[in-house]
Amino acid sequence: MTETLKQKVLPVLTIVAAIGVIWYGFTVYLNAPWQIDQYEKSATEWSMNDLVRDTMAHDRPVLPAPHQVVVEIWKTTVQKKITSKRSLIYHSWITLSSTLLGFVMGTFTGMMLAIFIVENRAMDKSLMPWIITSQTVPILAIAPMIIVVLNAVGLSGLLPKALISTYLSFFPIAVGMVKGLRSPDPMLIDLMRTYNTSRWQLFFALRLPSSVPYLFTSMKIAIAISLVGAIVGELPTGAVAGLGARLLSGSYYGQTIQIWSALLTAATLAALLVIAVNIAAQITQRMMGVPK
């Protein structure tokens, strides 16, 4: 136990602490010019201590200090009612729901595509290059337009945002699943042939089980990217609800603390989602009897 502590936890904590120190340093450095300007306007005497204290207490700092962001998050999560429009939990839930819907749809689409590609050579040759090309379309960049257009057709609310997430998340799933479905050792496939298995028996008994580890690795990427899609999808809705809307309204009104608190919340959400997929992967693998 102490060994893992030394090998894993200690280095990570050191780096996190170093990032914190650098962040505080930059807070003082970036906010100082404005603060010094203020001192000179009011002709007050100031020492280095005053400067450090005051740069960390701006209402709209260039870079907020970490504790300011933490206080803001605390205020907008614990001290607000969940139903309040100012509660970050409310906004997170909006973003999370479209993330999950998009992720589920993307995973399903990706798996279906992968199955078609592996089972039919014509599909492989025609689809695979286009699947790669599809990701060079900067979908995040045109997400606002797609949302507006889908709204005009009558699709509004959760689904348009989820579709952006779907478009982003099907790609890692499809690519990973194709790799996974093709991963069985040729020896094993030959063995199945000697058993006179049908195509579908081969698929369900050998290909599908061997693709599971690849699927979960892809799902970790896909769920993180779904969250990004949902956040960007919220930008054009006129800053109504969701973490993306918080980012946008923060940038309209120069509320930097609000931007950073939304960013940190999104980061926490991403971490929780990836951890959830990880746990699901471990449970599945244990049920499938994969040795650690």
Binding site: P11, V12, S126, W130, T133, T136, P138, P144, V232
Partner: protein, 371 residues
């Protein structure tokens, strides 16, 4: 002929019959010819014909014949699009597509039997698929009368691409040549350097690897408004967003790549009395190249997205992102799609160039040797 091929052929023939029966009086001459060809294609299924003239039968069974039917039918449908789409025309469109699929199935079946790399298959088949995507996009938008403010047909986007080349070039220069290239080079370059430095210290590596992995999964694009506040409206702020977005995937990949060389190979270099830098340049960096290229490919799309999204938060009056957001407001969707096409082309071209370079640099890697 496999069962799937027979099924495709039969389905196409049914569509041809349907078109002929319902539209015999209304169809244009070109469409009638197309329907006739489709039905002629269906006659190949008859065993009588195969027995009577085996020589002629084997010629008309070729994939080129299916290709011909599909292109003639598709052309006839495109020519008739603006006169309104009746059920018979849709049936011919579907028959054309089925014959196209059949041609691909046959070509690939032939290719599987022959040895070696076939450029027709690896390049032609995807292009053919792209043609059908555009064909149905065009047919559906015009045939169903979808308003162009929702989804313009590809022909309209193509016309816009040609007529607004100057604006598109200016936007491309601002977004891609200035912001993306600068940010991409700085982000990827500095990440490789940092990774090499960090790699010398095991403690740092253990700390940075999980954190880098974590940050790569974050919605970093959210820093775009902050960067625009810090670095102003011009391309520098977009480059800054790209630097942050591309840095962590590159660092994480380079770090794992640097430890990819096997112990045997390192021992060999030790017996040669190679120094740190020698073994870095001769062994560990080349061994890390597949990982580095992986990150370069991921980053090439990330960089474009970063630049365009950052332009939504403030920009001078030029740039792909700026154009997209303003033209959406003015309902000029054809211009928006033209910008998207430019961005997709730039993205695909960078991806393709990186793939070719990867093939040249990491020719020793198993994934390229097996062909």
């Amino acid at each position: 002929m496999t069962n799937l091929q027979k099924l495709l052929n039969a389905a196409a023939t049914l569509c041809g019959f349907y078109a002929l029966v319902t539209g015999i009086g209304a169809l244009s001459p070109a469409l009638l010819v197309a329907a006739g060809l489709v039905i002629a294609g269906g006659l190949r299924l008859s065993p009588v014909l195969a027995g009577a003239w085996p020589g002629a039968w084997s010629i008309v069974m070729r994939s080129q014949f299916d290709l011909l039917i599909s292109f003639v039918a598709a052309g006839a449908v495109l020519a008739a699009l603006h006169d309104g789409m009746a059920g018979a025309v849709w049936a011919i469109a579907i028959a054309a597509w089925l014959h196209g699929w059949l041609a691909v199935e046959k070509t690939i079946a032939d290719d599987a039997r022959s040895m070696g790399h076939n450029w027709v298959v690896s390049l032609g088949v995807p292009l053919f698929f792209g043609f059908w995507l555009l064909f149905f996009w065009e047919a559906l938008t015009i045939g169903l009368g979808i308003p162009t403010v929702l989804l313009p047909p590809p022909s309209m986007i193509g016309a816009r691409l040609v007529s607004s080349t100057a604006i598109l070039m200016a936007d491309f220069r601002q977004t891609f040549l200035k912001a993306v290239l600068a940010g991409y080079a700085i982000g990827c370059g500095s990440a490789v350097l940092v990774a090499i430095l960090v790699d010398r210290n095991d403690f740092l590596r253990r700390g940075l690897l999980p954190i880098g992995n974590f940050i790569s999964a974050l919605p970093i694009i959210g820093v775009a408004p902050i960067m625009v506040m810090w670095f102003g409206f011009d391309w520098q702020s977009k480059a800054a967003v790209i630097v942050i977005m591309t840095f962590f995937p590159m660092m994480v990949n380079t770090l794992s790549g640097l430890s990819a060389a096997s112990v045997m190979e390192r021992d060999l270099l030790n017996t040669y009395a190679a120094g740190y830098w020698q073994s870095l340049f001769k062994l560990r960096l080349p061994a890390a190249m597949p990982f580095i290229f992986n990150a370069l490919k991921i980053n090439s799309t990330l960089a474009l997205i970063g630049a365009i999204v950052a332009e939504f938060f403030g920009t001078p009056i030029v740039g792909i992102g700026f154009r997209i957001s303003t033209e959406v407001g003015r309902m000029n969707l054809d211009m928006v799609w033209a910008e998207i096409a430019v961005a997709a082309l730039a993205g695909s071209a960078s991806y393709g160039a990186l793939s070719l370079l990867e093939r040249r640099v990491t020719f020793w890697h198993p994934s390229y040797r097996t062909e």
